[in-house]
Amino acid sequence: MMLAMLIGILFAGGLAAWFCERLHPAAPARVALTALAFDAVLLFMLYPLAADNSAWIADLKWQWIPRFGIGFHLAMDGVSLLLVTLAVLLGCVAVGCARTEIRHRQGFFYFNLLFCLAGAVGVFLAMDLFLFFFCWELMLAPMYFLIGIWGHEDSIRAAIKFFIFTQVGGLLMLLAIVALALIYHADTGRYSFDYFDLLHATPDPHTAFLLMLGFFVAFSVKLPAIPFHAWLPDAHTQAPTAGSVILAGVMLKTGAYGLLRFTVPLFPDAAQQFAPVAMTLGAISVLYGAVMAYAQSDLKRLIAYTSISHMGFMLLGIFSLNLAALQGSVVTMLAHGFSAAALFMIAGALQERLHTREMGKMGGLWPLAPRLSAITLFFAIASLGLPGLGNFIGEFLVLLGTFKVNAGLTALTALVLILAPAYALLIVRKTLHGPLSEARQCADFGSRQLLALAILMLATLCLGLHPQPVLDLAQPSLLRILQAMPPET
């Protein structure tokens, strides 16, 4: 019941935000924040339930479309709890940074923001493949509007590109889902789209491999991994700040989550067979993203490419199929959520103040805006993976786990430890240091933005210094995935 409320509150909040715009111009933001606060309270109530460290934390199953055995089935384990928390936290942050940036059509803006989050939470909780796909698609249209209506100069093209990429990937997954359900139907004589039923479906190896590919393509479009990444730099660059925060912080994670929850457990043999290819794609994404980031002059584009690099780590970790690497992936999901969201907030704040995203036109901001600059430095080095901050733990664990499986690839990927400082320090040098490029005013962060960023800094620090609670929370779910894997040959 609490799980349905998590989603329902966001939906209701979205509708309420839209309709109360006429009462007061600031009302939509307050309503949105209230809805997110309610969700946060629910999450606090769920955390103690996770303490027994074994089974699912919560489970809810209602009939939905009995004709095809489709249920409204939600369940939560440690991983989904962490990711829903991330979504709610970043939702609050996004509302925080939208209050200064979004000036027109506020009601519809918060409606889309909350619907997008509701879809994402639904994705993290759905245990019925039809419901999962439903929520997966539900995220798209609101995000499309966020980018298209409130985005920057070339936003419509970027938004359409985003929509078409994800939709085509998604339909491949729908095809795979339906085919899997029909195989289950052929086995047992009844229709079911339930995750726990379909785990027992027995497609023959060849079919399983193709179906696994269907899922893999959909998720790696969202992730995005090479070669499906073309939509991401455009979408990020054009999106408004709050849109970028949600896109980088929450929506990309749905891809990684999908790989972890569906691709690997549903098709263990096929996944193992495919692992070398997936890991190579991951490694290429890591290096390619980093190299491309270094080559950018547009700040938001640069951050977008670092996202590709970090998401490559997740792909690498998930297909290494051992506990350390999987935990590394989960930690990277959270850490990247915090750091990318913060960096996009900073980029948005700079654009708002300087009216440019070109780093060539920035420079010398430190004396003008010391707080902004210090925070930028913090998240830049978090993004390069400095020990003591969250990203380091994630990347280290992924590399550790991958090394056991494929040492050569790990060595190659580790080159990113040289490339990442290069792009991270590029941000710092070009925007903060050097002479002032032209005489200009640059207001420092206000208290509201400081609060939002302080939360993210604190989260990054906690994750870096004391990651054990997160690892403990995720461990049972990850172990369950690994138990189902075929023994190593």
Binding site: R67, F134, I149, I160, I164, L171, V178, L182
Partner: protein, 473 residues
């Protein structure tokens, strides 16, 4: 045929009686509202009788017509569609001068043709229904004859329709020459009795299919669609896109299911080629259009392509999947053209994208409804179109039509582009352009119909189970 038999097929009898009644009423008093009211009552009564009798046993009425669950469901669907089209027509033609009283009458006769089609069990009834439908449509398309596009469209449709009817008759002649019967079970019996497929019957079926592919605007018989959609008045376009295409498709499916023509594997190859061509050409051509009605025309071509996948799949799932897909398609198409009709004025059809610019900020509800319809046509949840697409996937996977389903995915990706482009236009800022027309006064019926259609689209997208159970029974 005696009275008892007539009473056994109430929707057809009611519509036929309403046709006569409306015609008499017009001779007594020319009043547009009155004839709309009569037509509406007739359609509502037909809808009610078809819907209440849904679970009754199948009855064979004369050798021509069979009243079974399948037929009754589609009769109800067609009657409901007719009602919506009538509501749009009423508001649309009310604002135009001229003698509009025959318009409801023609909608009724077209609907009568559609009802006969979906219930026909015999090649003769098939032809009668089709011609009743088509001849009414010629006049409907040309109804606002003061607009030059309209006459051009009607003549185009008339000539091509005539040619396709000739093909159809030739095909029927071939089938009759071999089977010696015209009723579907008889033809099925003949086909079942043969080891190999008979080349003459096959040729006949092929010619019939060619004739019907024209009505369905499947590629390469699609040339007329865009021009006719553009030239016809918007409510009539809605009617053509739904009732005319739907009824023919339903008949085709019934013919194939009840005569066992799925045995002709060559035919299925032909259909697969047609489906691939239709999906790709429909979507690719839509990309190049600016006119909203033309975009919707090509989108409807693509949708018939998706339906053809269900048709090819056949099997147990086909009737149910086609039922759901058609319902979703009917509702969304009616809604989309309904918006066009509402925005049209006495002088202009609302087909230029400029009319839609900033619509969301001027008339949010109308724009929201249009967005829902377009998203439904694009197959995005939570709309009925998504469940329809899901059915295509289920039926297609069941029959292992992987190539066709991949084409469907490509087509949907392409389709998304032009649907989203229309939606984007509605969300653009309209501050720098003056609204092209002042708000046309009072189109209450259309608004009510559109509201119902929108609610249905979302309702069927979230809670499709009721309709599924209905179709399964």
């Amino acid at each position: 045929m005696d009275f008892q038999q007539l009473a056994a097929m109430p929707p057809i009898a009611i519509i036929a009686a309403t046709v006569l009644l409306t015609m008499l009423a017009i001779t007594v008093r020319r009043d547009f509202t009155l004839s709309c009211l009569l037509a509406g009552l007739g359609m509502a009564a037909a809808l009610a009788t078809a819907a209440t009798g849904l679970r009754d046993a199948a009855v064979q009425v004369t050798p021509l017509i069979v009243m079974d669950g399948y037929g009754r469901f589609y009769m109800a669907l067609l009657a409901a569609t007719g009602l919506a089209a009538l509501a749009f027509s009423h508001d649309y033609f009310k604002q135009r001068d001229g003698e509009n009283e025959e318009l409801p009458l023609l909608l009724l006769t077209a609907l009568l043709g559609g009802l006969v089609l979906v219930a026909s069990n015999h090649l003769a009834a098939f032809f009668i229904g089709l011609e009743t439908l088509s001849i009414s449509l010629f006049v409907l398309i040309a109804y606002s004859s003061d607009q030059d596009k309209s006459l051009e469209a009607a003549i185009k449709y008339l000539i091509l329709s005539g040619v396709s009817s000739a093909f159809l008759l030739m095909g029927m002649a071939f089938i009759y020459a071999r089977c010696g019967v015209l009723d579907f079970p008889g033809v099925g019996h003949y086909i079942a009795g043969r080891q190999h497929s008979d080349i003459m019957v096959l040729g006949g079926v092929m010619l019939v299919v060619a004739g019907m592919a024209f009505k369905l605007s499947l590629v390469p018989f699609h040339m007329w669609a865009a021009d006719v959609y553009q030239g016809a008045p918007a409510p009539v376009t809605a009617f053509i896109a739904t009732v005319s295409k739907g009824a023919v498709f339903i008949l085709l499916l019934r013919y194939f299911l009840s005569t066992g023509s799925y045995g002709h594997s060559q035919l299925l190859n032909v259909f697969s080629t047609i489906a691939v061509l239709t999906i790709l050409a429909g979507n690719l051509l839509a990309l190049q259009q600016q006119n909203i009605k033309r975009i919707l025309a090509y989108s409807s071509i693509a949708h018939l392509g998706y339906l053809t996948i269900i048709f090819i799949a056949g099997g147990n799932m086909a009737a149910e999947a086609a039922g759901f897909y058609l319902t979703a398609y009917f509702i969304s198409t009616l809604g989309a053209f309904g918006v066009v009709a509402i925005l049209s004025t006495a002088q202009t059809e609302a087909a230029e994208p400029a009319i839609y610019q900033g619509l969301f900020w001027r008339r949010p509800w109308l724009a929201a409804a249009f967005s829902v319809m377009l998203l439904s046509l694009a197959g995005i949840p939570p709309t009925a179109g998504f469940i329809g697409k899901f059915y295509v996937f289920v039926a297609g996977s069941d029959a292992k039509l992987w190539g066709l389903l991949l084409t469907l995915i490509i087509g949907s990706g392409l389709g998304l582009y032009y649907y989203l482009r229309i939606i984007v236009v509605m969300f653009l800022d309209a501050e720098n352009i003056a609204p092209p027309v002042c708000r046309p006064a009072g189109k209450r019926l259309s608004h009510a119909a559109l509201a119902i259609l929108t609610i249905l689209t979302v309702w069927l997208g979230i809670y499709p189970d009721y309709l599924m159970a209905l179709l399964q029974g």
